[in-house]
């Protein structure tokens, strides 16, 4: 019997049934065979091995406490055993041999099985639930068992029965049933009452002698992993052997497959170790850092020595006394000299001792810190540790040499000078000698060997640096598939809500229409996070477009090893220069079409990123689809034009489906507060979030906006809660589905939208289309963002300009009739299909070229 700690596997709940002669009288047992079991009448001897103490401690040996008592754990365990027995065997009658406290009998009876049980231990039987008493009795498995049962269970009992009696016990079991669920511990030799621990083959043989054969299809793992079911078989032996063989074959096949899987998993682990653990190690604090930290936490030698010195009477005090008393004869000078030397020696010794202690403490800390470095780092750290070992040996002295000689020299010199200057000129030579000795003593402590073993940081490979710096690892791995269907892929980092509201959403819509026109299929390829196709479908449907029949979702994280099949004639739509460049590692430039929502170059300074961005966008083979004619003009004719744009770029104006973007005065006004929206919507734009906040704060301070009339909402990704002066914390919205987003826009009275780059300003345009008044930057370039449209207030980015614009905006927002009239005058394109027609046609032509 194993000492199972919890009943998740079979607890060794059952009572052993070792033979005793003290059990029921033969006459009573004979009667039982006719009338059923009789209650126990004869108590076991006082030294019965299976008494209360046995049950109290049996299950606690070798594991956590779980005494065999009426606990929820044991009842739960036997409850689920009974469940399985009922579900899988469905006996009408059952007998639990060695039933102990009769928990299984109880659980079976509670589930409608006419279950009985017996046990050798009167104590155990006495613990049975009151209503079970007629159904359980004290008895021995070595005596004939009364009755006949559909099922006999014998759970962890026979390992308590001597080998010589095992056959009798099995014969008795088999005499009353054709079906036995059986477990007996195969490997627990620790329990002293386990006198017959055997593998299952031993029991199978004994059962076979009774005509009972193991049911090899039975899964008894709900009891123990070694549980078995034996059923009476009348088939010829060859057939039984055949079945065993077939089972054996299946297990061999399974073992083979499992081995194969293990090998695959080992390879995977190797791969992970190579690809993921190594980078993880590189991110773990290096031992150098650990040591630095350890050193920083150790009292500096300076402090230590200062403390040491402070505890030593200073020479000043020593020499001051003879001065004060006017005694300054030869003898006294000699005494003072010796005292000075002794002091210097004391200081030196103490410093030496203290530094030794510091060294030891530092070593201990470093050792401890190194021990905390994860084993994954071990290989990498070994080399560093070697260097550190040297540093540890030399480091303290080195530290002192480089950090402390000045103060130490001052300290020593101070004492010597006192003696020298304050006492007498007769002792200069001696004092100099002593000073020299003192210096030597200090030098013994402080002198550092040459720093030949200085740690030289491992220099990264130039390729790694270039890779990291230029983010070459982001390249999309592709493979040419001659057999794949042609497709239009939208490649982006993430198809989250914010992206779909802006340029990514436009790319998806263009992709869907191009796929439809070219009879190819649409692929949504993401790098950061797997796309939610349902969200994309909603975008298309809400914008009045059909969802392609076979839209495919592909997730290709950078450096994941995943690769993307590319067929001849495929096209890719990207939404940033980084994605474009990532694709160019494996796709022809003229197959990549970037949807441009702003002048990305303006997001960067003059470093590598700007250069990479400018080169990518200027590539003469690079196709661009530009959001709005104004932005197209800016990019083709502005101050920093992209070369050859007319030949390789097309532009499109957005559409504003009426179902989403329309003026709905009923959503505003009334007794409710007006809605102010700070729109920092597009994460792809360079936000002027700080300036916008300042403008709002100023408007609150000067009363242009206030908490009484306005409620404040911020819309954008990654915004943190922030307290506005006198207006509390605004509501922050981000992860909105298309319809919910449109609802927010329609309920807005006044909005502020600022971007730093030349930008499409799509969010601002949608706000205008939804009846809001919008204060926006002059760099937002979409056509509806024209002051002639009435509800648009173009503002400079200075605070004064923003302040004026917000004042005008609040007044206009209150003027419902003017707003409504302005909105009604808008002549907006409502159909994406129409607005994208030219761009889609151009894309299709590019695909055909």
């Amino acid at each position: 019997m194993t000492d199972h700690e919890t009943p998740t596997t079979a607890p060794d709940a059952d009572d052993p049934t070792t033979p005793t002669s003290e059990n029921e009288p033969v006459a009573e047992r004979a009667e039982d065979e006719i009338q059923g079991p009789a209650p126990a009448t004869e108590p076991p001897p006082p030294d019965h091995p299976y008494d209360a103490a046995y049950y109290a401690h049996y299950y606690t040996r070798g594991g956590p406490d779980l005494p065999y008592e009426r606990t929820p754990e044991w009842l739960g365990f036997f409850g689920q055993v009974a469940e399985r027995i009922v579900a899988e065997i469905a006996p009408a009658t059952a007998l639990d041999v060695g039933c102990a406290h009769s928990f299984l009998v109880e659980s079976l009876r509670d589930r409608g099985v006419d279950a009985k049980g017996f046990d050798i231990s009167e104590f155990a039987i006495s613990q049975a639930r009151e209503d079970l008493r007629p159904h359980v009795w004290v008895g021995s498995l070595l005596d004939p068992i009364p009755g006949h049962y559909d099922l006999v269970t014998c759970i962890e009992v026979l390992e308590h029965v001597e080998d010589r009696d095992a056959a009798t016990a099995i014969a008795n079991l088999c005499a009353v049933t054709d079906d036995v669920v059986f477990t007996s511990s195969p490997d627990d030799y620790r329990e002293e009452t386990h006198v017959n621990v055997r593998a299952l083959e031993y029991w199978s043989e004994l059962f076979a002698r009774q005509g009972m054969v193991r049911d090899i299809g039975f899964d008894g793992s709900f009891l123990t992993w070694w549980a078995a079911r034996f059923r009476r078989r009348r088939d010829p032996w060859p057939r039984v052997i055949g079945e065993y063989e077939r089972h054996l074959w299946r297990l061999e096949v399974e073992a083979h497959h499992r081995n194969t899987m293990v090998i695959e998993q080992m390879r995977e682990i190797q791969r992970l170790a190579h690809e993921e653990v190594a980078p993880a190690v590189s991110e773990t604090p290096l031992p150098e850092a650990v040591v630095t930290e350890a050193v920083s936490e150790t009292p500096l030698p300076e402090a230590v020595v200062t403390e040491a010195v402070s505890e030593t009477p200073l020479p000043e005090a020593v020499v001051a006394e003879p001065f004060a008393s006017g005694v300054a004869d030869e003898e006294e000078w000699t005494r003072l000299e010796e005292m000075g030397l002794a002091l210097a020696r004391t200081i030196a010794d103490r410093v030496d001792q203290t530094l030794t202690e510091v060294d030891a403490r530092l070593s201990e800390r470093i050792d401890k810190a190194l021990a905390e470095v994860d084993a994954r780092q071990r290989e990498r750290t070994d080399q560093v540790v070697m260097q550190l070992a040297h540093r540890r040996r030399t480091g303290v002295r080195h530290y002192i040499r480089t950090h402390t000689p000045l103060w130490f020299r001052r300290l020593v010199m101070r004492g010597v000078h006192l003696i020298w200057w304050s006492l007498t000129l007769q002792l200069p030579r001696r004092l100099r000698e002593r000073r020299d000795q003192l210096s030597d003593a200090g030098a013994r402590v402080l002198a550092s060997p040459p720093s030949a073993g200085e740690l030289v940081p491992t220099a990264p490979d130039v390729g790694d640096t270039i890779n990291e710096r230029l983010r070459l690892f982001e390249a999309v791995a592709t493979y040419v598939s001659l057999s794949s269907r042609r497709s239009v892929s939208v490649l982006t980092g993430d198809l989250g809500a914010a992206g779909l509201r802006g340029g990514v959403g436009a790319a998806v819509m263009i992709g869907a229409l191009v796929a439809e026109r070219t009879e190819t299929h649409l692929r949504l390829v993401t790098r950061a996070r797997r796309a939610d196709a349902a969200r994309v479908a909603e975008l298309l449907e809400q914008n009045g477009l059909e969802v392609p029949l076979d839209m495919e979702v592909i997730h290709v994280p950078p450096a994941s090893g995943d690769s993307l099949p590319v067929a001849a004639g495929d096209a890719f739509l990207t939404t940033s220069w980084r994605e474009t460049r990532a694709l160019l590692a494996g796709v022809r430039a003229d197959r990549v079409i970037q949807v441009v929502e702003d002048d990305e170059r303006e997001r960067y300074g003059l470093g590598d990123d700007r250069l990479g961005c400018a080169e990518t966008l200027s590539d003469p083979n690079q196709r661009l689809l530009i959001y709005g004619h104004t932005l197209f003009t800016e990019l083709s004719e502005g101050k920093d034009p992209l070369p050859g744009l007319a030949a390789r770029a097309a532009w499109f104006e957005p559409a504003f489906p009426a179902a989403l973007y329309h003026d709905d005065p009923s959503r505003r006004g009334g007794s409710e507060k007006r809605s102010f929206l700070l729109c920092v919507d597009s994460p792809s734009s360079e936000r002027l979030y700080g300036r916008a906040l300042k403008a709002v704060a100023q408007a609150l301070e000067d009363g242009t906006l206030n908490d009484v009339e306005w409620r404040f909402t911020f819309l954008g990704s990654g915004l943190e809660p922030i307290r506005l002066p006198g207006a509390g914390v605004p509501t922050i919205l981000d992860d909105l589905a298309v319809r919910a987003y449109a609802d927010v826009l329609r309920s807005t009275d006044l909005a502020l939208s600022l971007t730093g780059t030349a930008h499409s300003g799509l969010a601002a345009a949608r706000l205008v289309a939804s009846g809001a008044v919008v204060v926006c930057g002059v760099r937002e370039t979409l056509r509806p963002l024209d002051e002639e449209m009435g509800n648009v207030i173009l503002s400079g980015s200075s605070l004064a300009s923003l302040s004026r614009s917000l004042a005008v905006g609040t007044a206009l927002a209150r003027d419902e009739s003017s707003r409504a009239a302005n909105c009604a005058r808008l002549n907006l394109e409502r159909d994406w299909r129409a607005s994208l027609e030219a761009a889609v046609k151009r894309c299709a032509e590019w695909m055909q070229s």
Partner: protein
């Protein structure tokens, strides 16, 4: 879960255990003799493409066809079965010395050689697609060698044969691309007798009990091998939403499958069961309310057969499936199951569950139609003439 479908596990032993002599004798019992060759007996392709075929032919004595199976191991022997066979069907077996010997002998005797293939694993052009579909992110050199070797050898064996039998029309197209001068016949997979019998018994119990159910409502994914991780991922966003919104719904996953990040939070409501033998698999399917068959959308998956539909249909469980060509060919959306595009999984599963809750009779009608369709079109006793036509027909 359907309470009446719950029953004791069925004793199962692989039924393909006859000795070579027994199999050789079985080949010669009738007037026409078909020898099936497979690498070694197992429970997937061998069962569908060899065992089930032989069983169907054996049950149609009027056709006068006896059939038997032989393994690669048998090919190392005297090849006596070649002497007795009128047609030899080489099923998904890789080219090697022994197979070459078999082919040579069959050719010398003028015996018809047919290749049977049930997956797109014969044309090296698709190896990368296959490895990707099977969730091999970055195959090792050995794995590349294995897959190119495997596929090329299957292709070589195919080209040794006169004609080809496949499971689906798209797969037949791919065969025509690869071996343009071979005639190709489509012979779908189907259920064998034990599957049908147990399925009918379980279905009968469900019907008699009025499709009685208890919580939880179970959605089932019966994957088979761990190579379906990417397939499960297709439905995972929708499944996660379903599990999030319907607290009474649980997921049963059968086979070696790794729960992905989307499903992991619901692990406590996901019942993961090990591989089942093909008989008990029917039992585990019968208990669930909705069967799902998500598949990636590529050339490999579009060649896969309809078997996941009819295995569930046979026990009265409607399927929500990706609309690959074969599955779209057998599932009429809203009639005997549901087709779900990539973005529709949540909606389609919800639709099925809603139907179950709101109007069980509609659900039962769908379940009955799926059962009727599965057992009539894919039942073991309806196939013999189709097999005969594929083997002995013109071509």
């Amino acid at each position: 879960m359907f309470t009446d479908a719950r029953c004791e596990p069925v004793a199962y032993l692989d039924p393909w255990c006859a000795s070579y002599e027994e199999r050789l004798r079985a080949l010669g019992r009738r007037s026409r003799h078909v020898a099936y060759v497979y690498e070694r007996p197992e429970s997937s392709s061998f069962r569908y493409r060899v065992f089930n075929m032989i069983e169907a032919l054996e049950a149609a004595p009027a056709l006068g066809i006896s059939a038997s199976w032989f393994t690669q191991k048998d090919l190392r022997g005297d090849l006596a079965f070649v002497d007795r066979a009128d047609a030899i069907i080489i099923c998904r077996t890789r080219y090697d010395h022994d197979l070459a010997r078999l082919v040579a002998k069959a050719r010398a005797r003028g015996t018809r050689l047919i290749f049977d293939i049930d997956d797109l694993v014969f044309d090296p052009e698709y190896v990368h697609v296959v490895t990707h579909t099977l969730d091999m992110t970055q195959p090792s050199d050995d794995e590349w060698n294995y897959w190119f070797g495997y596929v090329s050898r299957i292709g070589a064996a195919m080209r040794c044969c006169d004609s080809v039998i496949t499971t689906t029309a798209p797969l037949a197209e791919r065969v025509r691309d690869y071996a343009p001068d071979r005639s190709v016949t489509v012979l779908p997979n189907f259920l064998n007798r034990r599957q049908c019998e147990l399925s009918q018994r379980l279905l009968g119990r469900k019907r008699e009990g009025g499709y009685r159910r208890e919580e939880p409502t179970m959605v089932g994914y019966f994957s088979g091998s761990p190579t379906h991780n990417r397939d499960l991922l297709v439905a995972s966003p929708g499944l996660a939403q379903i599990l999030k919104r319907h607290l009474d719904v649980a997921l049963r996953v059968v086979g070696y499958i790794q729960l992905n990040d989307l499903l992991e939070p619901f692990r406590h409501r996901i019942q993961v069961m090990g591989m089942q033998d093909f008989v008990n698999l029917q039992r585990t399917i019968a208990e669930v309310e909705v069967n799902i068959v998500p598949l990636q959308n590529n050339v490999f998956t579009n060649c896969k057969s309809e078997l996941k539909y009819f295995e569930a249909g046979a026990v009265g469980v409607p399927t929500v499936a990706s609309p690959t060509a074969p599955l779209a060919g057998v599932i009429t959306h809203g009639v005997n199951g549901f087709l779900s595009r990539t973005h529709e999984w949540e909606g389609r599963i919800a639709e099925a569950l809603d139907m179950l809750q709101r109007d069980p009779t509609v659900y039962e009608g769908m379940a009955d139609r799926a059962a009727e369709d599965s057992l009539s079109r894919f039942g073991w006793n309806r196939q013999a003439r189709r097999i005969e036509a594929a083997v002995f027909g013109p071509g």
